[in-house]
Symmetry: C2
Subunit: 413 residues, 2 copies
């Protein structure tokens, strides 16, 4: 009987895909820790290096064999992607010879459970692999674990990674607003935030306010049409109210014709080497306001720290990301495949969350926009519904292991 | 006798000047707390609003009267400048009518002790006021409390503000290097750091390395001549060594003729509104390397968060900044004037620091450059002497009061 059980043991393979976040490794931790709890059903927990792209080059490691308990705890608090990542789109045509190739590799490693931690594109990978598995009658189960600072996956209350990025944005914009307020002279500070199509992260900048009416006075999301002349009026009114005005904009704001504001400067964007230069929406608006009003204007791009700052990560986000990884393993063991782990906010007095599963085929390649009804004051501010939604996600700080004054993170050798 | 003592009581006035730092308020805390300890000699502790510029407009507050113990503790951990700041250069000519005007204001408030927290320019203010006081036989004592993230004041081991900025740079560059390493493809990430003339802050980026040979692979300071062609060679060699190369540069790097690299793009820097655009050295090098090698290049400007990030402040820096403020009060009470508080590293097994006083007239308007002998590998790296120098300054994290997931800071009403 015991012998038979051993024969039934299958291995896990887990990968990370797309842009890094502060908590994608917490989800990896969740998969490993939960996998190792089920030693009667699961043998090894393998990790693909650089996602499916690296796995196709036979690059993987034995996570359950190589990582000890202390290393796992550090992994849980390490930003970026421990296993490395990729941007690799699987062939649309399920009769492509890519599929027999990867399934041969999976069978050779005796994989029973496949987990992919990522965003829209990664869910597309899970969708395709699970559908192909069905066509060939493979028993391998494919589960997606959500991850994106953009918070743009449908069928889930929010995504792991968003809470930490939102906390970073709120804390940093609060500090930038304080920095901007030290002089008496009129000045405009424009903060450009990540978000090409969805404004969730830019919306988080309103959490920086210590009370209503504080900076950032103006907030612009990609979901609302941006009008340059109206922007000039908005800034003028804000400057009349107080000398220091902080404006937060998504990188992806666009006008009513769908043209990105960052493209307004295209003609002039040639560097002295004759090549096009990439300018952000913040820089374009900086030049516009300086030209229009002659006031001191500065633009600040928060850039990659939004997604990779471990120092300002949300403990709630870390724990939820780990829970999503663990829920993935549980779902797979319960026989599910072609699913993504989703978060559902429970009806309760305080904030309570539970994990459930959703059909990954419905989720992939779609985007959850910021609700239009939460955008108020003619597209310049965010309504109170968002505050209630976002505040629980940024709560708590991790007790972090430090060495020589800097955070200790886990690196692959 | 008691009555006589009361008549001898004088008030303090303290101001903040120049750019904000994470710990300029810790020095303010030090002045207030130490001042309140000497109730037999000191009456009120007044704060100038927006430095000497605001004080000339009769803008000040009674700090000892308005701030309670709990508020003082929060002030100690609040970044930026609680009192507001200014950039205001006093007349060179001590016979200017500016001086009788300000001394009349000081006398009216019964000021006995004047403290100015700031960098080079602020020490110039202390120098001029103390020299003028001497000419009129005023008993008011003028003491400078150093502050600058640039670490460029002479006659002091380092300046309050530098440790926190260095910790922020080291922690953030470590995270950016991790973010940059997740893909297999060759890529160059250029991080632009503050420092127009002095490279102390950029040098701190080497602390980001977890071990020798790690990113950032290349580090360029304003103190070494920058050559674009040599830079291309340096980057090529680094890319041959590993796919992900992180380069850290000061905003103020310049070539052998003293031309700033950020000015190389001047010709092309016109926006579509016909105005000159300001480009940083990072953006110029980004375009150059992309054009030369066709690899993926990204530039990141850490911007104002380097000086105003309270979340990643160094506890050592906070405590030293507070000690500098307190030492200022002690020096003034001991009868000194025209001095700046300076840090002296004691010869000891571990790191030990003591405060002493230096002649402010020697310090103002001069700059302490990064030592040439600490710049190694043909201007691309920093030697081990710097590590020993800088590591003690970034140690420790403040236990911070949080509310709703964000740091609680003290704001003026």
């Amino acid at each position: 009987m015991k012998e038979q059980k051993k024969e039934m043991k299958k291995n896990i393979v887990v990968g990370q895909s797309g842009g890094p976040t502060a908590v994608i490794n917490a989800s990896l931790y969740g998969v490993i820790a939960e996998g190792m709890k089920h030693g009667d059903e699961i043998g090894h927990v393998y990790g693909m290096l650089n996602g499916i792209e690296g796995f196709m080059q036979d690059r993987y490691m034995d996570l359950s064999g190589e990582l000890g308990a202390e290393e796992l705890e550090i992994l849980k608090q390490t930003p970026a992607a421990y296993l490395g990542s990729c941007r690799y789109k699987l062939p649309e045509d399920l009769s492509s010879n890519f599929y027999p190739m990867i399934f041969e590799k999976l069978e050779r490693l005796e994989i029973g459970y496949f987990f992919y931690i990522g965003g829209n594109d990664s869910m597309d990978t899970v969708s395709k692999l699970s559908r192909y598995a069905e066509t060939i009658g493979s028993a391998i189960r494919f589960i997606g674990v959500p991850k994106t600072i953009d918070n743009d996956l449908i069928h889930t209350d929010h995504t792991p990674g968003y809470g930490s990025a939102a906390k970073y944005v709120a804390a940093t914009v609060r500090e930038i607003a304080m920095d901007a307020s030290v002089y008496q002279q009129k000045a405009v500070t424009i903060v450009e935030l990540m978000g090409r199509h969805a404004g969730w992260l830019t919306a988080a900048s309103v959490l920086a306010r210590k009370e209503a009416g504080d900076n950032p006075l103006l907030v612009y999301l990609p979901e609302a049409d941006f009008d340059l002349e109206q922007f000039a009026v908005d800034v003028k009114q804000a400057l009349d109210r107080q000398p220091n005005v902080v404006v937060c904009v998504s990188e992806g704001i666009s006008d009513k014709d769908g043209k990105f504001i960052c493209e307004y400067d295209n003609a002039a964007q040639t560097d002295s080497f004759g090549h096009k230069m990439l300018t952000g929406s913040g820089k374009v608006l900086e030049a516009f306001i300086r030209n229009r009003y002659g006031v001191k204007v500065r633009s600040v791009e928060l850039n990659v720290s939004q997604r990779c700052s471990g120092m300002v990560a949300s403990l709630t986000d870390i724990e939820e990301a780990a829970a999503a990884g663990a829920a993935g393993v549980q779902a797979a063991l319960a026989g599910m495949t072609g699913k993504m782990i989703a978060f559902c906010r429970k009806e309760a007095d305080g904030y309570e969350l539970e994990c459930r599963t959703e059909d990954v085929n419905e989720i992939c390649n779609r985007e959850k926009k910021f609700p239009a009804e939460w955008i108020i004051k003619n597209g310049t501010d965010i309504g109170p519904e968002f505050w209630d939604y976002a505040r629980p996600l940024i709560q708590g700080e991790a007790k972090r292991k430090m060495k020589d004054g800097l955070p200790v993170y886990l690196y692959r050798r």
